[in-house]
């Protein structure tokens, strides 16, 4: 197995920050190389340089022994380097085949599209990647996993020798992940090399042939197959040890029910969802992707329309028809889609933090030039948000710091119930640990109770004082005792090995 790609001494500076500093890596043929590091470590920048999205300030790229210039994404594709991004770009209104051959359709008479050849070639490629769909289908209702498969098929169809996968498993279920890993193995046997980026260290350990660790734009470690383990990777990533990775769990929860949901249902999928949330509790709502947990959470906050369902806070019935009602009742909701439905990327960090309480910090609707910045200071300090000034745009911050902006926004309403949907998605190990600590601190004094959703089981096990498992749009199981919360136990409910046995006893003292 020879070296296929070499990157020599690449540097890249953005205004105000050195993203990559003299980084050199190489990639062998048929190898899976994982690139890991905290957010802002320079992984994405490096990958984007290889894919022609950015150009490096200095350094060189050598492919098959020849120095190459990659200035635009087209150059990378022509050289056989494909980037499969986190945000997938599948056009739902044209067939799978047309997607695969977009921009290089086989032609008849130099002008007309050769439909037959297009379909046949596409089916051949789809077979190569074990796709469960065919060329003539429209990718309209494709899952993330299927869309991703299309992107991989596209790359294979273009005879790419190097596949760069940026967080390919971020929104996949366990099953889909295993399918992906099987495919990766198959691609490797065909001498295709893969650069793999992931925040989930467990899978990095499982599938990598080699791991390189980046920190603050420099290469800090290269681990060969036999040296790869989670603990060492984390140590290299953060420059400290695993023992201070997590915060401290709070175990005593009062019996007082603060928030209660009865018979929640929507028009098609969610049905018979009832549960209580106790004061100071961290209640996990978990289940596989597509089980309905996010839909339930969004209904609790008045975003998704519901067909039935009553809400009670401290025993009194409350109306939640939209987020405005929810916020009035001091219920907060941290969305799983940080950029899509959370941040105002072009607004300042301070405006992002103070957005929900702007009316309160204003003087009859008027704001001073520093009102938002002054208000944000306490959160920037207590949540340790790293920024040069509260006035920088949210856009310029790393994933972990962006997530903290959103957390601050919800903390600012002094929530009694805080719903956290995937609070640590796409944030690095360091920020993750800090977010856990924030969550523990919040419930410690009993003023805030938390409902949180996560697809990372270790996180559920670490944080939750109680777990509700969702499958097929309803709650199928409950694990009440902290020491009974294990991955196996949760998965047995989530996958249907255990039959549903969740029962809900209504609190008798409710006021209509």
């Amino acid at each position: 197995m020879g070296v296929i790609l070499e990157v020599h001494n690449v540097s890249k500076t953005f205004p105000g920050c050195k993203a990559l500093d003299d980084v050199s890596i190489h990639l062998n043929e048929g190898e899976l190389l994982s690139v890991v590091g905290e957010n802002g470590a320079g992984k994405s920048t490096l990958m984007k340089i290889l894919a022609g999205v950015y150009t490096s300030d200095s350094g060189e790229i050598v492919l098959n022994g020849e120095t190459v210039k990659i200035k635009i994404p087209r150059d990378a594709l022509d050289l056989g380097i494909s980037l499969i991004q986190q945000e997938l770009s599948v056009a739902p209104n044209i067939t799978v085949a047309e997607n695969l051959f977009m921009g290089r359709e086989p032609l008849k008479h130099g002008f007309f599209v050769d439909r037959k050849k297009l379909m046949d070639e596409s089916d051949k490629i789809l077979d190569m990647v074990n796709a469960p769909f065919r060329a003539r289908q429209y990718p309209r209702n494709f899952s993330i996993a299927e869309q991703q498969l299309m992107e991989i098929a596209k790359a294979v169809g273009q005879n790419s020798r190097i596949l760069i996968m940026d967080e390919p498993t971020a929104s996949l279920s366990e099953n889909e992940m295993e399918t992906l890993f099987r495919l990766i193995k198959k691609l490797k046997q065909q001498h295709i090399s893969i650069i793999f980026i992931s925040h989930r260290l467990k899978e990095v350990v499982e599938i990598s042939d080699r791991v390189v660790v980046l920190r603050d734009g420099t290469l800090v470690a290269t681990l060969d197959k036999h040296e790869i383990n989670e603990k060492d990777i984390v140590t290299h990533m953060v420059g400290r040890t695993l023992s201070d990775y997590y915060g401290e769990a709070n175990t005593d929860v009062s019996d007082e029910v603060i928030y209660s949901v009865h018979n929640l249902a929507d028009e098609k999928f969610i049905h018979d969802v009832s549960f209580d949330l106790r004061r100071g509790e961290i209640l996990a709502l978990t289940g596989l992707v597509g089980s309905g947990r996010t839909e339930i959470a969004q209904m609790l906050f008045g975003i998704d329309k519901r067909r039935s369902g009553d809400f009670y806070k401290s025993g009194k019935r409350i109306k939640i028809e939209n987020p405005i009602d929810a916020i009035k009742n001091r219920i907060g909701f941290l969305s799983e889609d940080r950029k899509g439905s959370g941040l105002f990327l072009d607004m300042s960090a301070a405006d992002n933090i103070s957005f929900n309480v702007m009316q309160q910090i204003s003087n009859h609707g008027f704001l001073g030039s520093d009102s938002a910045s002054k208000f944000s200071e306490q959160f920037i300090k207590s949540l340790r948000i790293r920024l040069s000034s509260p006035k920088v745009k949210a856009l310029s911050l790393s994933g972990g710091n962006q997530q903290k902006l959103l957390l601050s926004r919800w903390l600012s309403i002094k929530p009694e119930v805080l719903i956290l949907d995937e609070p640590t998605r796409g944030v690095d190990v360091g920020a993750k640990s800090e977010i856990y600590k924030i969550i523990f601190d919040l419930v410690a004094d009993g003023k805030t109770s938390i409902i949180f959703i996560s697809s990372e089981l270790p996180e559920v096990i670490w944080l939750a004082s109680r777990v509700l498992i969702v499958r097929d749009g309803t709650i199928v199981g409950e694990i009440k005792n902290k020491n009974e919360i294990t991955q196996d136990h949760v998965m047995q409910y989530a996958t249907g090995v255990n039959d549903p046995d969740y029962t809900f006893t209504e609190n008798k003292t409710l006021v209509e």
């Binding site: 950015y54 899509g340 941040l343 105002f344 009316q359 204003s362 609707g365 704001l367």
Partner: protein, 318 residues
């Protein structure tokens, strides 16, 4: 302050000035070609000519900041002007300005209603309103020109305070108020928020419909004010007033660096954008460029200015 900080500081400020250098460049160029250009008289003239566009473009800025567009401003201007003139001919002539402003506001709110309640694309909703209101203006004027030589509010379009014409004064007030609204109020922040990320605004408990209704209402109100200014200046109004003014207003907003997708920009830029258009109009005439060439040059300037802006944004991101 270290040298590095200083550098960043200067860079940041240049960013903030946007197309101001372009305006200054044009002024110097015209002044060199024709010294008459910088006479007090001519400069007052430029401001007077730009007043109506500045007023309309301020409202347009807010609409575009939410990611919308208002094509009906020219027609609202015409309707309001005709209404103002009509009322001025009745015994209640003192109500001419308030009624004209209310007419503009009502038309704008109706735009907002179409957009927020029926979820119509703003382009289509205001296109329809542009056509209907144009017809309405002709109907209200009985197809002719409504004239009042003894107009009670003629001062708005013809008198000065000091050397500042009243209409320029109004334009300054409108720009000033809009700036305060956008940069120093909760409402302003929400306008940026809706344009920047509507979904996130919903998740934060913002009533997007209210914001949309508001910006369209303001745009209508300002168009009504522009109608009053036009009517006062001409002592008359007809269905012909303000045709294609929406294009000048949009050009001013975009020249001023406000993003067509919403969420980025502001009225300070719009002011500069509107002045660039007026300086070009005025300067090209003064140096004797033929009319058709004036059109060609104006169009090119808009395109080039925006290309430069896009390029600069891209450099900033990359």
């Amino acid at each position: 302050m270290t040298t590095k900080d200083k550098k960043l500081f200067i860079k940041f400020d240049l960013q903030k000035f946007g197309v101001l250098p372009v305006l200054i460049l044009f002024c110097i160029m015209f002044a060199l070609l024709e010294p008459k250009f910088i006479s007090v008289n001519n400069i007052t003239n430029i401001f007077r000519q730009s007043a109506v566009n500045i007023i309309i473009a301020s409202g347009m800025t807010m609409v575009i900041l939410t990611g919308g567009i208002d094509l009906s401003v020219g027609s609202i201007l015409a309707v309001s002007a005709v209404v103002a003139l009509r009322v001025s001919l009745t015994p209640f002539s003192y109500l001419a300005i308030p009624i004209a402003l209310l007419t503009g506001l009502a038309a704008g709110l109706f735009n907002g209603f179409l957009v927020s309640y029926f979820k119509m694309p703003p382009f289509i909703a205001t296109l329809g309103m542009m056509t209907s209101l144009r017809g309405a203006a002709y109907l209200l004027a009985d197809g002719t020109t409504v004239i009042n030589n003894d107009l009670s509010f003629a001062w708005v379009g013809n008198n000065n305070i000091g050397i500042v014409p009243w209409q320029v004064f109004f334009a300054i007030i409108v720009i000033g108020l809009s700036w305060v609204l956008l940069r120093r109020t909760v409402l302003g922040t929400r306008i940026y928020a809706v344009g920047g990320n509507e979904k996130a605004a919903v998740f934060s408990g913002i009533s997007v419909a209210t914001i949309i209704l508001f910006v369209h209402g303001i745009s209508g109100l300002f168009s009504g004010l522009a109608g009053v200014v036009m009517g006062a200046r001409l002592y008359s109004a007809s269905g012909l007033l303000g045709v294609s003014y929406e294009l000048d207003a949009i050009a001013a907003v975009i020249l001023g660096g406000t993003s067509f997708n919403g969420g980025i920009g502001g009225v300070a830029g719009t002011l500069v954008g509107a002045l660039i258009i007026s300086v070009l109009n005025n300067g090209l005439i003064i140096i004797g460029v033929p009319y058709f060439w004036q059109q060609v040059i104006k169009g090119i300037v808009i395109i080039v200015a925006v290309i430069i802006d896009i390029y600069r944004q891209r450099v900033k991101v990359k």
